[in-house]
């Protein structure tokens, strides 16, 4: 990867130090393959290389940014020129500035599997075909396997600044998924199964297939239940979704801008006593693991909630300066086209002692939530209002009962943290910025018939 780092450095070095100018270059390169199969045939096969550069310039307390979807000197020159011009129009901000080395050494993470680069395309196609076959044969009620996908990516990036940062990272990822429709008479239900890893060998095809099949078939016969107030038991992937949302409310930027429902609450009991929340991108098992953040600072373990008590927030360099603290190395960016925001990468609740089955046995009347929908439209991270579509299985007297659909579950994020009754032992790292585990939350409104 020296070439990416060299390119980033060569751009950063052009900063006009005499004029107090700072320059940051973020350079990214990726190779992706994706395969979709349908009814035993390849529906499409796509292979692509992409690369680009994003440049931030800070001058006289003003920030400018520009990106170009190409690498090379011409692209770099265009991005730098535009970023400089853009910086002329921003409002002066005494806190504007790039990250500076803070002495924290990056964790030695091995997130690259060279064998992925050499995996033949045919092998990838076979993985997808194998998964589709297994889903189809998993249950006679599987009526359609709508799409089965294999995709992988090899990604490298480098960030360099005129303030002395130079960091590189590289990572391989591999993902397989299948979306199945089960039918019984006129009725249809759907199930989604997947597996994720760093190379093809990490993928658990059998589990992905069983998930898709079981999740579709176990909902057959689902009815809309009557409205009530009960305990919901979130399945690991639903919990991961909720944790991602929760992490966004702990962004230091939202806090300093007065938009977080957790602002000014450090030291307060925001959750039940057995709730401990951390974001640790140095955990190699997490999908979001990375040695350095989007500004080039070494990632670290950040404790956010400990024993129910709020300890602090996530910061990038700018938000930390505004708040009078230091960055938690939580700068994230969606590629070279965006500037660094703030986000969790490996958000996780400390697991409990019981597995999902054991938790079900503890619940008299509840709902096992298999999937949720409308998270972007029904969760307000400023007010805390939480209302999402859901489907799953009712729980009665400690056992799973009839399937239900077309219902919503609602509460507020604040209340949900205070009503966590069981945390599962079944920790599972999923694609996305959070871990999954079974999580039981009491006193949630189910809205149905």
């Amino acid at each position: 990867m020296p070439e990416l780092a060299d390119l980033a450095r060569s751009i950063a070095e052009q900063a006009d130090a005499g004029a107090g100018e700072q320059v940051e270059a973020y350079v990214a390169q990726g190779r992706e393959t994706s395969v979709r199969v349908y009814e035993g045939d390849v529906e499409f096969l796509s292979s692509s290389d992409s690369a680009g550069v994003g440049v931030r310039v800070v001058r006289d307390g003003r920030l400018g940014f520009a990106w170009v979807g190409a690498l090379g000197e011409a692209a770099a020159a265009e991005a730098l020129r535009e970023a400089r011009d853009n910086a002329r129009y921003a409002t002066i901000d005494e806190h504007a500035g790039l990250a500076e080395p803070d002495g924290v050494e990056p964790a030695p993470l091995d997130l690259w599997r060279e064998e992925l680069a050499g995996t033949p395309t045919d092998e990838k196609i076979d993985i997808a075909l194998d998964l589709e076959r297994r889903v189809r044969q998993g249950d006679h009620r599987i009526r359609q396997v709508v799409q089965t996908d294999y995709s992988d990516a090899l990604r490298k990036s480098a960030v360099a600044t005129s303030t002395g940062i130079c960091a590189t990272s590289r990572k391989t990822t591999c993902f397989v998924s299948s979306y199945a429709v089960a039918g019984d008479g006129d009725e249809t239900q759907t199930g989604f199964g997947y597996s994720v890893g760093r190379a093809a060998g990490d993928l658990d095809i059998a589990k992905a297939a069983a998930d898709a099949t079981e999740r579709a078939t176990r909902l057959l016969g689902a009815k809309k239940p009557p409205s009530s107030r009960l305990t919901v038991l979130l399945e690991p992937r639903v919990t991961a979704t909720v944790l991602s949302v929760l992490a966004s409310t702990l962004s230091g930027e939202e806090v300093t801008k007065g938009r977080s429902l957790f602002a000014n609450r450090v030291g307060e009991e925001v959750g039940v006593a057995h709730l401990t929340l951390v974001d640790d991108p140095t955990d190699a098992a997490s999908f979001g693991a990375t040695p350095t953040d989007a500004e080039g600072l070494a990632c670290r373990r950040n404790r956010l909630i400990d024993g129910g008590k709020l300890l602090g927030y996530l910061y990038n360099t700018h938000a930390a300066r505004v708040a009078g603290t230091v960055s938690t190395a939580s700068a994230v960016r969606g590629g070279y086209r965006t500037t660094p925001g703030i986000g969790g990468r490996a958000v996780c609740i400390e697991p409990g002692d019981l597995d999902q089955e054991a938790i079900v046995r503890q619940i008299d009347r509840g709902l096992l939530v298999q999937s949720v929908s409308g998270v972007h439209s029904g969760v307000n991270v400023v007010s805390g209002d939480f209302s999402v579509g859901a489907e799953g299985l009712m729980v009665r007297d400690g056992a799973l009962a009839e399937p239900v659909r077309e219902l919503t579950i609602a509460s507020t994020l604040q209340r949900m943290l205070q009503h966590v009754v069981h945390i599962g032992s079944d920790l599972e790292w999923l694609p996305g910025p959070a871990a999954g585990m079974s999580l039981a939350i009491a006193d949630v409104s189910l809205s149905g018939a």
């Binding site: 499409f44 096969l45 007010s383 609602a410």
Partner: protein
């Protein structure tokens, strides 16, 4: 990208003779169809937050996506290198799928026709690229002032300006040569208001497939005041009820209802894979007879409009549901070809890096005969939804959700107390059959539609209407 030179507006991005050679190379190993999609996109974004213009960003992207279809299989590759070398390499990569089919090969020469004469749905009056950055910045500062002047309870304002110009060129082995030049401008404001019961949010967006004249259509102050009003109105909001209630949805509140309840389910890719509740229901009654639903890519200058789609097919007006009867689905090139018919101009892609698929453009319900005020007056008890957020649908089961971001109780035919945000959930065909009043008013809104990882701009519209029963996902008793 080998060259970074400026390209004049009227120049093709890649010369036609080169496109022709690339198509020949793409078919070199066989294959029934090949296509080159070339794109040049420039975008500007400015954000204001916490009283400061935080960031000006500009970006430039160009590249080509090449696909080759062999039997049921599509091979795809893309490149940011628009030289002959780069395009030929991508063509060979896309053609690699033809390898095992034994379909012969030997290549085929392609003769491109003259570019199709298609009429753009609207003309751009002021190219945003010709407007000074300082002028754009000024808009944000004005919006901040207007929002903060709306009430002392407004504690935070963020605003965003964005413009983009996307030029495309599409050539395929059927001889098609077409292109488009789309300019879009967007302005949005988000406000946070604080009161005794916590914080509330309000958001408003103005966006169209136009240039800087967007701001002649609607002032930034108007957008800002609407966002602030929405946040302030909710300060005294009570929890939404739970259970099934009659719902009146205001015109132009974000026609996401139809986008989710049936729009996605009428996309031919779902239909051909039997993963839509609307499969096999052509010419059947799928909605209340009051429902006539149209998808229209020529409905300029709305957010989802275009001259030709991303497969070179001219945009057109498609009636999907007529007086409650399902008349047609939406089609892209591949799905249409499989059925031996023409595309309906619904083949779209986020960028040259992706394959096209069936997507909506501007989807809307035609107005009816009812007086909008009377619809409310004739509703003894229910919910009045003045503004909707996004939504999501499972096309195979028809279950969908949509979020309300400004809503009120209806009591004795009058709009009364504001309600906190919540999702509503329903089943597409069921909700469509329960529409019992359609107003004579009409309004469109701009949105972003996500499908299979790709986002595209879409328009949604509808008159004021009533659904006799939808499940509302609040926390209070109904």
């Amino acid at each position: 990208m080998a060259e970074q030179g400026e390209v004049a507006a009227t120049d093709p991005i890649v010369a036609a003779d080169l496109l022709q050679r690339v198509l020949g190379a793409a078919l070199d190993r066989g294959g029934a169809f090949a296509e080159v999609f070339v794109e040049d996109r420039a975008a500007t974004g400015i954000s204001l937050d916490d009283r400061r213009v935080e960031e000006l960003s500009s970006g430039h992207d160009r590249g080509a996506g090449i696909r080759v279809v062999v039997g049921e299989t599509t091979g795809f590759a893309h490149t940011a290198d628009l030289t002959e070398t780069g395009l030929m390499a991508a063509a060979r990569a896309a053609a690699a799928v033809a390898r095992d089919t034994g379909s012969g090969g030997g290549g085929r020469s392609v003769a491109l026709g003259t570019p199709q004469d298609s009429r753009p749905p609207n003309l751009v009056q002021v190219l945003p690229a010709d407007v000074a950055k300082a002028t754009k910045v000024e808009l944000l500062l004005r919006a901040d002032d207007a929002a903060r002047s709306s009430g002392n309870a407004i504690i935070q304002v963020s605003a965003g300006y964005a413009d983009s110009r996307r030029r495309t060129q599409i050539a395929n082995s059927d001889g098609l040569l077409a292109g488009d030049d789309r300019v879009r401008t967007r302005f949005s404001v988000s406000c946070v208001a604080a009161g005794d019961a916590g914080m509330q949010t309000g958001r408003e967006t103005s966006a169209a497939t136009v240039g800087f004249e967007l701001f002649d259509r609607r002032s930034v102050e108007d957008v800002a005041e609407e966002a602030a009003r929405r946040a302030l109105a909710k300060l005294s909001a009570r929890p939404a009820p739970s259970g099934v209630v009659p719902v009146v949805i205001k015109s132009g509140s974000g026609g996401v209802l139809f986008h989710e309840a049936c729009g996605h389910g009428l996309e031919a890719d779902h239909i051909l894979k039997d993963s839509s509740v609307y499969t096999g229901r052509l010419e059947q009654l799928v909605a209340s007879p009051l429902v006539t639903l149209v998808d229209d890519g020529t409905f300029g200058p709305e957010w989802g409009c275009m001259t030709v789609d991303d497969e070179g097919r001219p945009a057109q007006r498609n009636v999907l549901i007529s007086n409650g009867v399902l008349t047609d689905y939406m089609w892209d090139f591949l799905r249409a070809r499989k059925q031996g018919r023409q595309s309906s101009g619904n083949g779209r892609r986020e960028s040259y890096r992706e394959l096209p698929m069936v997507r909506m453009t501007n989807t809307f319900l035609l107005p009816g005969a009812d007086d909008p005020d009377e619809i409310v007056a004739q509703t003894p008890h229910g919910i009045y939804v003045a503004h909707l957020g996004g939504g999501q649908v499972n096309t195979a089961t028809g279950d969908f959700v949509f979020g309300m971001t400004e809503a009120y109780l209806i009591e004795n035919g009058r709009v009364t107390e504001p309600l906190r945000d919540a999702n509503l959930i329903g089943n597409g065909p069921d909700v469509l059959s329960r529409i019992d009043a359609v107003g004579s008013d009409f309004g469109m809104t701009a949105g972003t539609c996500g499908k299979d990882g790709q986002s595209v701009p879409v328009g949604c519209g509808q008159p004021t209407l009533r659904v006799t029963g939808v499940t509302i996902g609040g926390t209070a008793g109904a």
